[in-house]
């Protein structure tokens, strides 16, 4: 899954820490989301979308051949 979190964050001049604090998650989670290592839960995806004032599908793009981002 692709996302525009880093782009939107930088547009607003925010640091990862600021966004993490606003979303009540750790800074590491923001880092992992931005570089695509971690896919958020639907709740966090909606929180992110609400924070940036955009629809979820505008921030997150699902591609058919995507894995879940979790390896066991």
């Amino acid at each position: 899954m692709q996302n525009k979190i880093e782009e939107l964050r930088k547009e607003r001049g925010l640091k990862q820490e600021d966004l993490a604090s606003a979303l009540d998650v750790s800074r590491q989670t923001i880092g992992s989301l931005e570089n695509g290592r971690y896919n958020p839960s639907i709740i966090l995806a909606f929180k992110i979308a609400k924070y940036f004032g955009k629809p979820v599908e505008e921030i997150f793009t699902y591609e058919e051949d995507d894995s879940n981002g979790e390896e066991n």
């Binding site: 993490a20 998650v25 750790s26 989670t29 992992s32 971690y38 709740i43 966090l44 979790e70 066991n72």
Partner: protein
Amino acid sequence: MERKTKWKIFMALGIAAILSGVLLMVIFDRFDITGRITGIPGIIVGMGGGIFGASYATYYKLKDPLKANQIRIEENDERTQMINNMAKAKGFDVAMVAYIVLAVVFAIAGIDFYCLALYLIIGVAVVCSPAIFMHLYNKKL
């Protein structure tokens, strides 16, 4: 219950365990009690020390509002929770291998039959527990 209160209770339990262990040591010594049972107070004191130490460390962190907020975020962070769950699952796999190796070692070493049987029964219960929890979660979710 306030989070700090919870850790205060754990600290009190730790101290109570240490004191009861020491009290048992004194009683065993005073009444000349011997045998394997004399090892129990030491275990109680050790467990009490562990509970007190861990509780005090968490309580100390919670006293600082900045650290307390960081702990709250870490505890509720969904990625941290996912990592914890994955680590627990891997840890369980490792524990299972260790369990089987130990069972073989115990059998070869010729430990007491009842001890080996107890070890195997507990092992089977532990191995079966994920299936039980899967069944429960399947019904719940």
